[in-house]
């Protein structure tokens, strides 16, 4: 199908492509501090909006993820200043270190995604349901506990064990130590 004649479309296509690669890292960074799902979505949307406005300034010789994380840092800070909900979680030094780690880890996100997908499929149905309810359907641990008629703490422990198991499984598939 023929490309559009709009001269800006190339730029926008490039942005869409780059954003697709950076989104997991930006999302991870934002969620490290903004734990409310909807607030995190707002901050991510605000970040991508800012990135789009400033995309003309982007230097393609620089890594896009690092550039995008710069905006995310600013937006997270903005959120923290405005938010009355929670005290500051990670300090600035920790956030700086985390940002670097996320940037580094995001280089292999495609492989990690596929490994994770494989490992999730190997979970038992029950564990899949709990994982899906928590992260895909954004149910709270309390809601899941109510659904299963178990204690909230049981759900917390279950989720941690599932996640640890998945991390180990992914680590094995990617051929490294437990990641």
């Amino acid at each position: 199908m023929p490309p559009d004649c709009d001269p800006s479309s190339d730029k926008m296509s490039q942005l869409a492509l780059l954003w697709g690669q950076a989104k997991p890292a930006v999302s991870a960074y934002v969620r490290s501090t903004v734990r409310n799902h909807h607030d995190a979505e707002d901050v991510i949307q605000s970040t991508v909006s800012q990135i789009a406005q400033r995309f003309d300034d982007y230097d393609p010789s620089r890594p896009f993820v690092a550039w995008a994380l710069g905006f995310a840092r600013y937006k997270v800070m903005e959120y923290r200043n405005k938010s009355y909900r929670k005290p500051l979680l990670l300090g600035d030094d920790a956030l700086e270190a985390l940002s670097g780690a996320i940037e580094e880890e995001s280089r292999g996100v495609d492989e990690r995604y596929h490994a994770l997908e494989h490992c999730i499929d190997r979970l038992g149905d029950r564990h899949q349901v709990v994982l899906t309810q928590r992260y895909r359907h954004d149910k709270t641990r309390e809601q899941i506990a109510d659904q299963l008629d178990v204690k909230v703490n049981t759900v917390s422990v279950m989720l941690r064990r599932i996640r640890q198991a998945l991390a180990e499984c992914v680590g094995e598939r990617l051929g490294g130590a437990a990641r």
Binding site: A16, R35, L90, G124, Q128, V129, R134, R136, D149, R161
Partner: protein, 540 residues
């Protein structure tokens, strides 16, 4: 558990104390390994929202059948109270409640059926034992109520059983429009006709011709000669009828009789236990979606889409056979001559969405044929401004060679998971439509929608994989220029990682799809049987 992993996960759950949070913050700032571990968990979280496990069916297994050899300790026991309540429902259905007129059976069969549908002593004793055992295993307060209910039900069943075993006269209650009772049938509503599509109701003795919104009463019979109709029962079960189909309502608002034809039922939790009786089977839902069909030979075909359904055959003598549970993607044929046989599950067999798009006046080639607001359909996501568009691209194209497509009837397209090679035969004349789903301007946030688009001609094939779209013959390709065509990294085809699905309905005129679009839109070419004069012959 690895202490660092434990700390990271507790932090993400918000479970660290203030003091622990300070320590953790310092650890992240000072230890690159700790920062990396937290980074991985955060990236995983991002993907958890994207990945749809392939085998999760909504049914939580009682036992953990994990194939992952991991040290996930056993989870607390599944809600046993639910098991007890489900068993109660099953027993209610399987025992004495046969609320239909059985006038369609010979007298001998009627008597036999009634006798067989009462519980025997051993059945009652066994069931009571099972229920009490199940209930007492559960420790919650809810279970105490369940135990009380079990005891009450068991006592009731024992009384029913004693009466029926001590009396040669059949005592099973039958209801229906032809019941010779002096009492007028209760005029309470058991269901409502909530929608119809090109429906033509049969005008015949003993059957009604309802209109949308009309309340339906116990004993009422409906015969749909053409089209589709949706009925919502008093308990919220959505039943889609596909013509030709005949049903009859009973006194029980949570049951109906399928005399012939087929229906599809979506049963909400409050209606668990919804029952369908056919001439050859009893079917009881245990929280599910299923389709039932009664053929000309009176055989019952049951297909479970999600959840669990129990079914038992009724033989020529009216004797009810063994009850068996069926689960997601299982199909069974219950035939009085050949018995009960598992058959291939056909995902496109039952119509279950009559929210369809009518054909608009035919546009010129390249013009938009239809545009729909996603918000009018099922949609999840943050924005509600999205739309699906359908463009007419080509008309009357004659295929001079066999043309590969990603999907033809029957089947559901699940890339990388059982995708079968498909093609449209040479010589077919087709109109080509482009379906374009870009609900939020591809702003990077997942937008999802479910649609059913009805075309006038038969759908012969769908090209929906990015690679297939790129390789489609020139004669089928889009003539329309679309903005931002190059922004999709992997092409505009469907993305199974986001859960895209599409299928052609059995009547081949309707295309059903569940689409998700994020940073890239979804597109597919639909090849519809053409009645137009050929516009071109494919170049070799």
């Amino acid at each position: 558990m690895n202490p660092l992993a434990e700390q990271c996960l507790r932090y993400l759950d918000g479970d660290l104390s203030e003091h622990e949070t300070r320590e953790f913050t310092q650890l992240i700032a000072e230890s690159p390994e700790a920062a990396k571990t937290l980074a991985r968990y955060l990236i995983d979280e991002h993907y958890f929202a994207k990945i749809q496990p392939t085998k999760t069916s909504g049914r939580i297994e009682a036992a953990d059948g994990s194939a992952l050899g991991l040290a996930i300790s056993r989870i607390e026991r599944q809600d046993e109270t639910d098991d007890v309540l489900r068993e109660l429902l099953r027993l209610e259905r399987e025992a004495a409640v046969v609320p239909y007129s059985n006038e369609h059976l010979p007298a001998k069969q009627q008597s036999s059926q009634e006798n067989q549908e009462r519980l025997t002593w051993s059945q009652v004793a066994g069931a009571t034992g099972y229920l009490l055992a199940s209930a007492t295993k559960s420790r919650s307060a809810k279970s105490l109520a369940a135990i009380a209910a079990v005891v009450l039900l068991a006592a009731t069943l024992l009384v029913i059983s004693l009466i029926s075993n001590g009396n040669d006269t059949p005592t099973a209650v039958t209801h229906g429009p032809d019941n010779n009772s002096d009492t007028a049938p209760p005029q309470r509503t058991v269901a409502t006709l909530t929608a119809q599509h090109k429906a033509l109701w049969q005008a015949a003795s003993g059957v009604s011709m309802p209109t949308v919104g009309e309340n339906l009463l116990p004993g009422q019979r409906l015969a749909l000669a053409e089209g589709l109709a949706e009925i919502t029962t008093a308990r919220g079960v959505k039943v889609t009828l596909e013509a030709p189909c005949e049903i009859e309502f009973s006194e029980d608002e949570n049951a109906l009789r399928l005399v012939g034809g087929q229906l599809y039922a979506v049963v909400p939790s409050q209606a668990t236990g919804f029952a369908v009786q056919t001439p050859t089977a009893h079917i009881v839902d245990l929280g599910t979606e299923f389709g039932v069909e009664v053929g000309a030979d009176m055989a019952t075909r049951l297909q479970v889409y999600t959840g669990e359904v129990r079914a038992a055959p009724i033989d020529d003598e009216g004797v009810v056979g063994d009850w068996v549970s069926y689960y997601s993607a299982q199909a069974v044929s219950i035939n009085p001559d050949t018995g009960v046989q598992e058959i291939a599950f056909d995902p496109g067999r039952h119509e279950h969405d009559i929210t369809t798009v009518e054909m608009r006046p035919k546009p010129e080639k390249g013009e938009m044929w239809w545009r729909g607001d996603v918000s009018k359909h099922k949609q999840t996501g943050r924005e509600k401004s999205g739309a699906i568009q359908v463009f007419l691209e080509r008309t009357g194209v004659v295929l001079d060679e066999e043309t590969p497509v990603d999907l033809n009837w029957p089947g559901r397209w699940l890339p990388g998971d059982g995708k079968q090679p498909a093609s449209v035969q040479a010589g077919e004349r087709v109109d080509v439509y482009l379906v374009h789903f870009d609900p939020a301007g591809s702003n990077g946030f997942d937008q999802k929608g479910e649609f059913s688009i009805r075309f006038k001609g038969r759908i012969l094939g769908v090209i929906c994989d990015s690679q297939s779209l790129a390789q489609a013959p020139d004669s089928l390709r889009s003539q329309t220029r679309y903005p931002e065509l190059d922004k999709c990294k992997s092409g505009p085809g469907l993305d199974w990682e986001l859960g895209d699905q599409v299928r052609i309905h059995r009547n081949k005129g309707a295309l059903e799809m569940k689409l998700a679009a994020a940073s890239c839109y979804d597109q597919m070419l639909v090849l519809v049987e053409s009645k137009e004069i050929p516009e071109a012959i494919n170049a070799p």
